[in-house]
């Protein structure tokens, strides 16, 4: 953490516990306590009262409580946060013990639960977006401006690789392929980027470019295999990409301990460090971890959006995704498109991999250097509704959860695993809009069509 440790995080009531709750507040719901501690009541809570208003405002409110993409996403977040709060409470023996006498003194149970949950979520927010103490510290001169920007810097650092893997999965989805192999493609990408980073003696600038491209090439190779197997042999890409993920992981663990790769001064599984000439430059000085990877990520988002919506290949890709038979009849080579989709998806995932070793997250290969970015990428793509700019936003949210989760772990003692739970829950609710609609009694949206099914079996 680049934050100066603050003594006992201050009163949690002063700021909203999380983004979603902040949004809830903005909507006029003031009883935050209920949202966090009592899922049943918050679930049954009616929406903003539909008072007779001028048409524009009326329309706004109507849409607010209709099952459109925005509302469903927001409510999924709320639901996930509520379930997360329940998990926190039932796993804390002290708080749980207050529930044994809840009938005689309900205030104990409610207060202790509220304290636990609100502090945890407040730390999640402070670690990812804005920490008021750092801000007042900066005004008082107690700490520099870096401390104020530290949470955002962390969020962006975690988000950058997720943008790439999310785009990788989303691009394949649009072409009708389910790329579960972003993890493996990122793994090969990270290997190639790191090897180029410490084996090639190149001048600064060029070295970085070569290393990044090497990562992309690695991902492309690993995407090409399931692509050509799908196109030529009809082998299902879901099976092959799952299997290739593990092949890549084992290859990485083998490679790290080979002569010339392993750090000669170490006996454990860690490679040599990437040369500084091949590292992505940091954007806000050495104290903040945010690096140029996030800029590349925005660039990649723009490129994928252009590819999908403006290029011939993008049109072919979407046509194949919508209906391969019709596309073939129209003269589009489905074989070629499948291979290209997987190669492009691999390139994107490989770039995500290069981010993990050329950025500030790590500078050497270890067995866990890729973390979970490939699997998280699947969630990010689904959350972003498989649209490029949506993926970018989703990756930012997931990056924020990661960054905030770190602070939550060190300040509130809530395991980082809670973030995994939250992420999975959000996507479960997103994937089943009918469920969210039923829970909150949403009206059917007028225009928005919420997709529930993306891929087709084996």
């Amino acid at each position: 953490m680049t934050n100066p440790p603050t003594p006992q995080s201050g009163s949690p009531d002063k700021e909203p516990a999380s983004e979603a709750q902040a949004a809830q507040n903005a909507l006029g719901n003031t009883e935050r306590a209920e949202v966090a501690t009592e899922p049943d009541r918050s679930v049954a809570k009616p929406g903003p009262e539909p008072e007779p208003k001028p048409s524009l405002g009326r329309l706004f409110l109507d849409n607010l409580w209709a099952a459109n993409t925005f509302t469903v996403t927001l409510l999924s977040l709320v639901l996930a946060i509520v379930v997360g709060a329940v998990l926190m409470i039932i796993s804390d023996p002290e708080v749980l013990s207050t529930y044994s006498y809840i009938t005689s003194r309900p205030s104990d149970a409610i207060n202790s639960s509220w304290t636990l949950v609100s502090e945890a979520y407040a730390n999640l927010f402070k670690g990812s977006v804005f920490d008021p103490e750092a801000f007042s510290g900066w005004l008082d001169g107690a700490n520099g401006w870096q401390a104020v920007l530290a949470p955002i810097s962390e969020t962006l650092t975690y988000a950058a690789p997720l943008v790439f893997t999310g785009l990788s999965v989303a691009l394949a989805f649009r072409g009708g392929l389910f790329n579960i192999g972003a993890q493996g493609q990122a793994t090969i990408g990270v290997i190639m980027a790191a090897l180029a980073g410490f084996l090639l003696p190149l001048p600064p600038g060029l070295h970085l470019l070569v290393a990044v491209l090497a990562g992309a090439l690695g991902g492309a190779i690993w995407g090409f295999i399931p692509g050509i197997l799908k196109a030529r042999a009809g082998a299902h890409e879901v099976i092959n990409t799952i299997m290739l993920n593990y092949v890549a992981t084992y290859f990485l663990t083998w490679l790290i301990v080979q002569n010339g790769v392993q750090d000669p001064n170490r006996t454990d599984a860690i490679s040599k460090a990437v040369d500084t000439s091949a590292q992505l430059p940091r954007l806000l000085g050495d104290n903040l971890r945010v690096h140029a990877g996030i800029l590349l990520a925005v660039l990649a988002t723009w490129a994928v959006a252009w590819l999908l919506n403006r290029s011939t290949l993008g049109f072919e890709l979407r046509a194949v995704g919508a209906n391969p038979d019709a596309a073939r009849t129209a003269g589009i080579s489905v074989t070629r498109t499948y291979i290209l989709i997987m190669v492009f998806a691999g390139i994107l995932a490989g770039l995500g991999g290069s981010n993990m070793v050329l950025g500030s997250t790590a500078s050497a290969l270890t067995p866990l250097v890729v973390a979970q970015i490939g699997f998280d990428g699947i969630l990010v793509a689904l959350l972003g509704r498989v649209k490029p700019w949506g993926v970018l936003l989703a990756a930012l949210l997931f990056g924020a959860l990661q960054a905030g989760g770190n602070r939550m772990q060190s300040y509130s003692g809530i395991s980082l695993e809670l973030v995994t739970v939250l992420q999975a829950l959000i996507v479960i609710f997103i994937a089943a809009p009918a469920l969210v609609k039923a829970i909150f009694q949403l009206r059917a949206a007028r225009a928005a069509r919420l997709q529930t099914s993306l891929a087709k079996g084996w």
Binding site: I180, L229, A233, M243, R328, E417, T420, V421
Partner: protein, 426 residues
């Protein structure tokens, strides 16, 4: 548009000509045989390669000179390949292929065992067989869970999560109650819980089943990891010290040489797993339940027309799958280890591979699981004798084999026709 020379549609050619699948496999086998006879033969030493019929170096053993063995078994592989290339009756294809592959493995082992450091030129067969079954056990349970699910038309990528949840709740409730049986039931319920989520979201809310499976795996990792850190790490004595099933010796059978000590002195999970393979195989192909399950997985509309409750069959099978996988998870925490974070570590996906490699068939899944378990055990053994073969490459074997299988190189694998397609009545 593009004008590529390749045909756009990927279908198996109807007229295969001279190069039938059998001949292609024969050619591959021939090449493998040549490789083993020449390369393994050259690398093997003149040491005796001993395959002892016990846990250690002592006792009776099958012995063969390393070089001679490697070459001899290589020649057998060549012969099998040549036979396939020359053309054998169809019913002989699998036996001949089996002989060829086993001979190839034996040739490899002759080289490895003879080239081991002095004093270690032996391979304890009892140890190897027992280890194979122990390592294959979660795969067997997981693959059976996959069979139950997918035969009724629901893709089960959540095997990993079901195993993990089973292992966790088995450990948690086994520790709290102090009873292995409570733990076992809790494990089954834990697995079924993940299954229930899969069933509700896949069948009721029509969420894509592969997506749901992947997300459920992450959810299981998250929930168990979170509760592990909150409960088990803070108070391991209370929450993570489940009692363990002891080994049960089966009278008479335990005295069979090699197989007796390896297989019939195991714990309940070993017997249960093998029994389940039998039960599910018979159930699937010989009972009314099996017929209905298969019909729902192949052609739900036809099944519905005939009065089979498609959704009910699917719900029931997916839940059963969770129970089976949950028990499989308990085979870790109620017999071998205490719970650790993410302790299944990808076994669920190998189980998925075994399911596919075994062609969605319980017996096939068992054989595939044993093959993968053997590869795993072999990696451990080779590590112990300082082999030049990196263990990671042996660990890749199941995955590579599965890729070859689905790519049609080892024969066509076909999923149930309605696998992964939600059924909407109407």
């Amino acid at each position: 548009m593009s004008t590529m020379a390749v045909p756009d549609i990927a279908v198996a050619p109807v007229d295969e000509g001279f190069w039938t699948r059998s001949r292609k496999v024969g050619l591959t086998l021939l090449a493998l045989g040549l490789l083993s006879a020449v390369l393994f033969g050259a690398l093997a030493t003149d040491q005796q390669a001993r395959f002892t019929l016990s846990d250690d170096a002592a006792g009776a053993a099958l012995e063969i000179n390393g070089t001679i063995g490697a070459i001899l078994f290589g020649i057998i592989t060549i012969a099998a390949g040549a036979a396939l290339l020359a053309g054998v009756p169809k019913r002989w294809f699998l036996p001949v292929l089996g002989v060829g592959l086993v001979a190839f493995v034996l040739s490899f082992l002759c080289w490895q065992v003879s080239a081991a450091p002095a004093g270690q030129n032996f391979m304890p067969l009892v140890n190897i067989i027992r280890g194979t079954f122990i390592l294959a056990l979660p795969l067997i349970f997981g693959a059976l869970a996959g069979v139950l699910c997918e035969r009724s038309g629901v893709v089960n990528v959540a095997i990993e999560g079901q195993l993990l949840m089973g292992a966790f709740s088995g450990a948690l409730f086994g520790s709290i109650s102090g009873s292995v049986w409570v733990g076992l039931v809790a494990a089954a319920i834990g697995g079924a819980f993940i299954s229930l989520l899969l069933a509700v979201f896949a069948i009721r809310y029509l969420v894509d089943q592969v997506v749901m499976g992947i997300v459920l795996n992450l959810l299981a990792v998250g929930v168990t990891g979170f509760l592990y850190e909150r409960l088990m790490q803070t108070d391991a004595a209370k929450y993570n010290s489940a009692p363990r099933f002891s080994n049960w010796e089966i009278p008479l059978l335990k005295d069979i040489p090699v197989l007796g000590p390896a297989l019939f002195r195991g714990n309940i999970f070993l017997y249960l797993g093998l029994l389940l393979v039998l039960v599910i195989h018979i159930g699937l192909f010989r009972t009314r339940w099996g017929l209905r399950t298969r019909s729902v997985g192949e052609h739900p509309i036809a099944a519905d027309t005939l009065g089979v409750k498609v959704l009910r069959v699917r719900y029931r099978n997916v839940l059963l799958a969770g129970v089976v996988a949950g028990i499989g998870g308990a085979s870790y925490t109620l017999a071998l280890y205490s719970f650790t974070k993410n302790m299944i570590g990808g076994k669920g996906f190998i189980a998925l591979a075994a399911l596919i490699f075994g062609r969605w068939n319980p017996t096939g899944a068992l054989l595939a699981a044993l093959f993968f378990g053997f590869a795993d055990q072999l990696a451990t053994y080779l590590g112990a004798i300082n082999s030049v073969i990196p263990s990671q490459f042996l660990a890749m074997l199941p995955y590579l084999a599965t890729i070859l299988a689905v790519a049609g190189l080892v024969g066509r694998v076909r999923a149930p026709a309605a696998d992964g397609k939600p059924y909407i009545k109407g």
